[in-house]
Amino acid sequence: MSAQALVEIHDVNFAYGRRQILKGINMTFPKGKLVAIMGLSGCGKTTILRHIGGVLKPSQGFVKVDGQVVHELDQDTLYRLRRKMGMLFQFGALFTDMTVFDNVAFQMREHTDLPEEIIRDLVMMKLHAVGLYGTQDLTPAELSGGMARRVALARAVALDPMLIMYDEPFAGLDPISLTVVGELIRRLNDALGATSVVVTHDIQESLKIVDYVYFIANGMVVAEGTAEEVRASGDAFVRQFVYGEMDGPIPFHYPGADFNKDLGVRV
């Protein structure tokens, strides 16, 4: 398995100041697969992506991408590695001072010496792939939320990356855009022969498309499995998450002092 693993996360610990975010995370993303990382808001999912991209350094453990330990790379090698990664940010993070065309062409212009005609053709192909051919002269402000997300998707795959990361690709989308974006993530992954990581808390949408799921809570992997295994799982946490139950292993109440005591009620 590990011979074909594109990304290997080994016992990664990370803390913002005194707040421990990740506590010994282990994950493996096999080549060509679409993996989801799920968990509640603020449980450290995005932090994992930032470790893969080399933005953050683990306090313990390591992340290996394509055989290289990310946090040991110098700036040049890291940048060379990042060119082989695409990332879709939470709300697209399109460059607002550029047109759709320039957004998609951005990496091609920055990292290649391709002539402008070829860049034009490539950009049109990418836009066509996400169904937005014809929007190239619009600015990001003129796009709807779902369209912006698709343009960002086209930008993320502009250089045909080997690894595509999605940070909450479904956040704030209407049901139709949701299906479209989900379908695109699957199709792009297979068409490019890439490996994809989706960080999300939208379980229903992602279970339709992903191959494998990791559940994270309190900075630890609490459950994992294929989509079928997850659906059939009897694990209390997974059940609570999948069916959106109010109380369970994740308590409804903030762990404060005893409320009854505060009110002076004797039970």
């Binding site: 933005v55 060119r83 940010f89 399109l94 990496q107 990292h111």
Partner: protein
């Protein structure tokens, strides 16, 4: 106890301020270090010259003309008491070239272009555009910050020169055309009083220094802004306040060096 608390508050503020200055200095060197791209791909810089320089033209031209006209009027009123109306030209030109041109241009530039830079970069940070760039293996300091820095440094002296030139013109309109000071005396007194090296070049040097100061403050505040709406608006305000104060302080220091003695 209250005193201890107050002292502790002051102390932490001072430490914080020094910390920020150090961080800003490191930021400045980083901008210089990654400036290569701004020259290799000069279009990036040209684009920013358009947004900071050309877009500030109107305010600078109008302000310069009116400041010159006020100088002409006030200067005439004062000089008349000593019967030296003919010195009006040198008064207007010296005030503009040495002080008002560079200083007022820099303050206007800070509020027009500097605040825009801060808001733009702060928003790019808030909407994760800078992180996205970083993830695309493009250094945001080289791609976004450095071209804006050089655009500001190029624009400021040009704007200050235009301000002073228009100001002299405004002084001429009021002094010579409206009040009737002798045109020949106006110009000849001006020319014998204003030294190219001592006054004009020093004025250009001043505006260059102010340009560096304003853009560094503006870009740093944007880059350092907390990624929230309040964070960006606070940073924009700080840009205008900090760079205006910095301009006036630097002006005193530079003036003390340049114009003492003779």
């Amino acid at each position: 106890m209250a005193i201890v608390k107050a002292l502790r508050g002051i102390g932490s503020r001072v430490i914080n301020a020094v910390w920020r200055i150090g961080y800003a200095a490191r930021f400045f060197f980083k901008v210089l270090f990654y400036s290569g791209m701004s020259f290799r791909r000069f279009r990036l810089t040209v684009r920013e010259i358009f947004f900071s320089g050309v877009m500030s033209l109107i305010i600078i031209l109008v302000a310069g003309t009116f400041v010159g006209m006020v100088l002409g009027l006030q200067g005439f009123e004062t000089l008349k008491r000593y019967g030296s109306e003919s010195a009006l030209g040198s008064l207007v030109a010296l005030s503009l070239v040495r002080e008002l041109g560079p200083v007022l241009t820099a303050i206007l530039f800070a509020s027009r272009a500097g605040s825009a830079m801060t808001a733009e970069i702060g928003l790019m940070k808030t909407t994760e555009q800078l992180s996205a760039m970083e993830m695309m293996a493009v250094n945001p300091v080289a791609r976004v910050v450095a071209p804006r820095f050089w655009a500001g440094v190029v624009s400021m002296p040009l704007l200050a020169a235009l301000f002073s030139a228009l100001g002299v013109f405004g002084g001429y309109v009021v002094g010579v055309i409206m009040i009737g000071v002798d045109s020949g005396q106006f110009w000849s007194q001006m020319q014998s009083a204003v030294d190219f090296k001592g006054d004009i070049l020093n004025g250009v040097l001043k505006s260059f220094v102010f340009g560096v100061a304003v853009t560094v403050v503006a870009l740093f505040e944007g880059f350092d802004a907390p990624p929230t709406a309040e964070g960006v608006s606070g940073a924009t305000t700080r840009t205008v306040v900090e760079s205006s104060l910095l301009i006036l302080m630097l002006d005193f220091i530079l003036t003390a060096f340049m114009f003492r003695g003779d």
